[in-house]
């Protein structure tokens, strides 16, 4: 067994384990951290496939940005996961049966018969000095420039939609105005009342 194959199986095993823990971990923070592990191992697998640009982007974007935000949200929200887990054992047999049936059906139709090495050629190794990044860039800005631009418009629309849906004045929210706070003077807050002494009743 070549060293590359050993790496593949090790990464694949870690990936399956991490993905399983994402679903089964009791603590949402643990689940999120396992997802980070899953992304990392996935990036490793992609490196084996000589897709180094995608591997690095996966780490930078998903691990670096998305998952950090996700962890942040998970820590901010106090999610009580106990009610979500009620009936896990009760529904497990049905769930397993359905999953097994679906797996069987999918394998029966889209198995190695159609996507095995006989049908789809094994990709050839690229020569030394081949730049995956440059190739991607070349295709992205020539053959796929039109879809690429549309994807950019979709991102723009996502920004606009997010702002439209969240930026609004709500009369019921109370917020502080620091400028007004620092301008407050003693006379605004304190009223000195002069009154004559009174006899004790």
């Amino acid at each position: 067994m070549s060293f590359e194959r050993i790496i593949f199986y090790a990464f694949a095993a870690i990936l399956v384990y991490a993905a399983g823990r994402v679903v089964t971990a009791r603590n949402p923070v643990h689940a999120a951290l396992h997802l980070v592990l899953a992304f990392f191992t996935c990036a490793g697998l992609w490196l084996l496939l000589e897709a180094e640009f995608l591997a690095i982007v996966l780490v930078l974007v998903y691990v670096g940005a998305v998952m950090v935000l996700f962890l942040f949200v998970v820590m901010m929200l106090d999610i009580n996961s106990a009610p979500l887990r009620e009936g896990f054992i009760r529904y497990l047999p049905v769930g397993l049966a359905v999953a097994a049936l679906m797996l069987f059906e999918m394998v029966a139709i889209v198995g190695v018969r159609y996507f095995g090495p006989e049908q789809v050629a094994i990709p050839a190794r690229h020569p030394e000095g081949y730049s995956n990044t440059a190739e991607l860039g070349r295709v992205l800005y020539t053959d796929y420039v039109y879809p690429f631009e549309i994807a950019a418009v979709i991102l723009l629309v996502a920004i606009i939609a997010a702002i439209v849906l969240t930026m609004r004045r709500r009369p019921e929210t109370k917020y502080q105005d620091p400028a007004k706070q620092v301008q407050a003077r003693k006379a605004d807050r304190l009223r000195v009342v002069k009154m004559s002494a009174e006899k004790k009743q």
Binding site: I109, V110, Y114, Y144, V145, P147, I150, V157, I160, V164
Partner: protein
């Protein structure tokens, strides 16, 4: 592969709409609330110029551009022009409604323009990637527009349902497309078609891909049994957004069904014909029967949409050029009727009052005979009563189905149309024979009244025109 200037010229309508949408987005920030009408006028001017550009750059023969991801042909030109028309009417109907409710914001129109850009991309796509991206661009704008009235609980609920089910449908479609890529080795529609033609018999993996693609498309069209989102979204969304969702996107959805099933998977026609038969019969049955039980006009029109989608599918599954032409005529006619019907709800509504119950149309004839007559034309057209254009749309679809010897299917369609006629005519009865509960005169701006009149008369006039040329 160098890009030629000619390729950019072909996509000039898209480039123009995108440029103007970005420009209006920025300019709108500098416009005060009381002169927001400037944004509206710029948007309408954009649509007019886009229509002129589309006419100017049309080509006699289909031309591919941008590495075969973009196609310019006759169908794209015609459908784009109707998309501009229907979108423009939708924007026009929306303005008084939004003004009365303090929702008259530039973002509504900018999102509408981007949604229209998505439709244009879908209409002239010749690559599965472009189709998917156009669809996502359209859907994303629509989700935001449904939730536009943030203070309304029903709007947020509708947007949530739409978003979740829409994402599910996109997932189905993408899974099917990925299988198709695995089986044919390409995502270009022409290349997929030739790869399928080269294969003897249809392999099971292609059928597998086809199933998922048909399910995804049926979700987007709102065909039974993938129609669950339609009534809730139509009911929950603000009426101008319902009007928008119910009209122009249906034209774009028709276009992608044509591009995917006919142009791309035309070799599998024997396989998808059966699937569409099931979808069409179920849509006709469920749409027409359940609409009878509705008391809310928006929900009723939602079920009516489902039944119209059934008719549309009938035209496509005929699998002949006549059938496709009939389906295209049907969907354009439907868009015109839907715009008018939802426009009537906006006409009768006023600030703080939604005229979306059937009861709100009670005795409309006594309050305003002209608009009662317009609604009568629209309802008769939806039911398919001659001489309105709806009748000729139904007739041409049925002719196409009979030509391919599916007489039983035509009989089913007529049977459910007769059932469907009940709820359209019930509204006419409510308008003409019941006494009004609300005597208030209609308060709406003259522009809305004029366009609604033109809309109603167009439905009648086009029908008479069809009558003249067919006789």
């Amino acid at each position: 592969m160098p890009l030629e200037t000619a390729e950019y010229l072909l996509a000039l309508p898209e480039i123009w709409v995108l440029g103007m949408a970005c420009l209006i987005l920025v300019l709108d920030l500098f416009i005060r609330d009381d002169s927001r009408i400037l944004t509206y006028l710029m948007v309408q001017a954009t649509l007019v110029v886009a229509a002129l550009i589309t006419l100017a750059v049309q080509v006699p023969e289909p031309v591919l551009a941008f590495g075969n991801t973009f196609i310019s042909d006759g169908m794209a030109t015609v459908l784009k022009l109707f998309i501009y028309l229907v979108t423009g009417m939708g924007f026009l109907y929306a303005r008084p409604y939004l003004q009365d409710r303090g929702l008259f914001k530039g973002e509504f129109y900018v999102l509408g323009l981007f949604a229209m850009l998505g439709m244009m991309i879908m209409v002239s796509a010749s690559h599965f990637l472009t189709i998917y991206l156009g669809l996502e661009l359209l859907s994303l704008c629509l989700y935001a527009m449904v939730a536009f009235n943030r203070d309304s609980g029903t709007c947020s609920e509708a947007a949530m349902k739409y978003f979740v089910l829409g994402a599910l449908a996109s997932g189905m479609l993408l899974y099917g497309i990925s299988m198709l890529y695995g089986a044919t080795g390409s995502l270009e529609i022409a290349a997929v078609a030739s790869a399928i033609a080269a294969e003897e018999g249809s392999s099971i993996v292609l059928i597998f891909a086809l199933c998922f693609i048909v399910v995804g498309l049926a979700f987007k069209l709102g065909a039974v049994p993938f129609h669950m989102w339609v009534p809730d979204v139509y009911h929950g969304a603000p009426t101008p957004v319902t009007l928008f969702i119910g009209s122009a996107p249906k034209i774009a959805a028709f276009a992608i069904v044509m591009r995917v099933l006919v142009d791309g998977l035309g070799g599998l026609v024997a396989d998808w014909q059966g699937m569409l038969v099931i979808l069409a019969v179920l849509s006709l049955a469920v749409g027409n029967v359940i609409a009878i039980a509705q008391t809310n006009l928006k929900r009723m029109l939602a079920y009516s949409t489902i039944s119209h989608v059934g008719f549309l599918l009938l035209g496509i599954l005929a699998g002949t050029p006549d059938g496709y032409a009939a389906a295209m005529f049907y969907i354009i006619t439907y868009a015109l009727m839907a715009v008018g019907a939802f426009g009537m709800i906006i006409l009768l509504s006023r600030a703080g009052f939604e005229a979306d119950e059937l009861e709100d149309f009670r005795g409309l004839n006594a309050r305003n005979p002209w608009f009662a007559f317009m609604m009568l034309i629209l309802m008769f057209s939806m039911a398919g009563v001659p001489p309105t254009v709806g009748f000729y749309a139904k007739l041409s679809v049925l002719q196409a189905v009979i030509q391919v010897d599916m007489v039983w299917l035509a009989l089913v369609a007529v049977f459910f149309s007769v059932i469907g006629a009940f709820y359209y005519i019930r509204l006419v009865k409510i308008m003409y024979f019941d006494s009004p509960t609300d005597e208030a005169a209609l308060q709406s701006n003259p522009g809305l009244r004029a366009v609604l009149s033109v809309n109603g008369l167009a439905v009648l006039g086009l029908g008479v025109f069809c009558c003249c040329i067919s006789s």
